[in-house]
Subunit: 230 residues, 2 copies
């Protein structure tokens, strides 16, 4: 801790940003790899993703310790405090995105249907949309770019539309192939996890917006039946 007390505040914030960027890159890659492992029924790949989640968790702990240390030692005010708190919370959200990747990977052994069925074939496109949101919102955090954060929020609707369409496709598939219901239930959870990744990117966007501007993003129009909070 002593070496940190002589570090400039900006340097410490730079360390925080670097940790967040590293965590974000790992979580994005984990989601991408989990969907690839699913389509290939790659059990070894899936197991590696599950094991790799520990590294993301460890980084979250590093962010937390550094953020608390900065707040306690420097007592930053206003913009600086908002940014440190945002980093702390963003790390928590990225950790959860890592958990979603792990959860998807854990379902790989339970789904032996190959990628030629419709519900599985659309998952990669949905995953890519969600991952791109995560990537862009972390760029927005690094650049303190409130406008870019707003843009990420707009894109959450596409992920939701994907999910709602996939939900209907899955239910239809289950009705027509009752023997696959158990497996398709796992696919349904995977689709839900990806939809949640989009929600988390949106939450981060709200944090980035607040950190950059000191104002809360205006409550956006949300359908009262949107199923995205948990």
């Amino acid at each position: 801790m002593h070496t940190h007390t002589v570090k400039a505040f900006d340097e410490e914030i730079g360390d925080l940003r670097a940790l967040i960027a590293q965590m974000g890159g790992m979580a994005e890659e984990a989601i991408r790899a989990a969907v690839v492992a699913l389509r290939r029924h790659d059990l070894a790949g899936a197991a590696a993703i599950v094991a790799g989640d520990k590294a993301i968790d460890a980084l979250e702990m590093e962010v937390e310790q550094l953020a608390i240390r900065i707040i306690a030692l420097r007592a930053p005010m206003a913009d600086d405090l908002r940014e440190v708190v945002a980093a702390l919370k963003i790390a928590g959200v990225i950790e959860r995105i890592g958990d979603y990747a792990k959860n998807i990977a854990k379902r790989v052994p339970l789904i032996d249907a190959q990628g030629d069925i419709e519900p599985l074939s659309v998952l990669p496109a949905m995953a890519n949309l969600a991952i791109a949101m995560v990537h862009d919102v972390l760029d927005a955090f690094a650049a303190r770019d409130a406008e870019a954060a707003l843009d990420v929020c707009e894109r959450d609707r596409q992920v939701d539309d994907f999910y709602n369409s996939l939900f209907r496709v899955l239910v239809t598939h289950m009705m027509e192939n009752p023997k696959t219901i158990g497996q398709m239930a796992h696919v349904l959870f995977i689709a839900k996890n990806l939809e949640r990744v989009g929600d988390h990117a949106t939450n981060v966007a709200e944090m980035v917006y607040y950190a950059a501007t000191g104002k809360h993003m205006a409550e956006r129009d949300r359908s009262s039946f949107k199923m995205t909070e948990a």
Copy 2:
């Protein structure tokens, strides 16, 4: 902020604990009420739960602001810092439990099957188990009781067993009643949400244990296929 600087640290921690207890009570009640609304197909009750979640969110923001203020103004060390950080994180978890209640409530209008079908009839018992874990772990936090926190962790297995059994019951029900698949998919998500409430109580227990002892709870035995991370 000025009035707080003259408050004793213990008094500020007391305020934090009181906010956490209040949040926890609201989240427990929201989960309980959501399952009741589901069984009664009570749309007004469900809408009230959705609306009430904002109050839990507002309390989380209060906890966050108070915790950050304590860290910045008092630079607490060791035990005291661990406790403030635990409060900050526990508030985040309770907020998520509130989101699960809201999510369950939002599904009420989508499920018109009455409580006489088996999958719906077991949900209240599962909800009660999960809620009791939340209640007891917050008591453990208030009492700095590491042993009580360990006890809560042990009980998560019961909630998981409930969920795994319910998953099979739901899949069987879907196979035998294909027309209900859409609705039963929503019930499946509700069961998953309740299982997640148990997981979150376990996470809080780990935070309470660490705050009380300064040691991380030993990694407990977890099946590598346990589906509880997301």
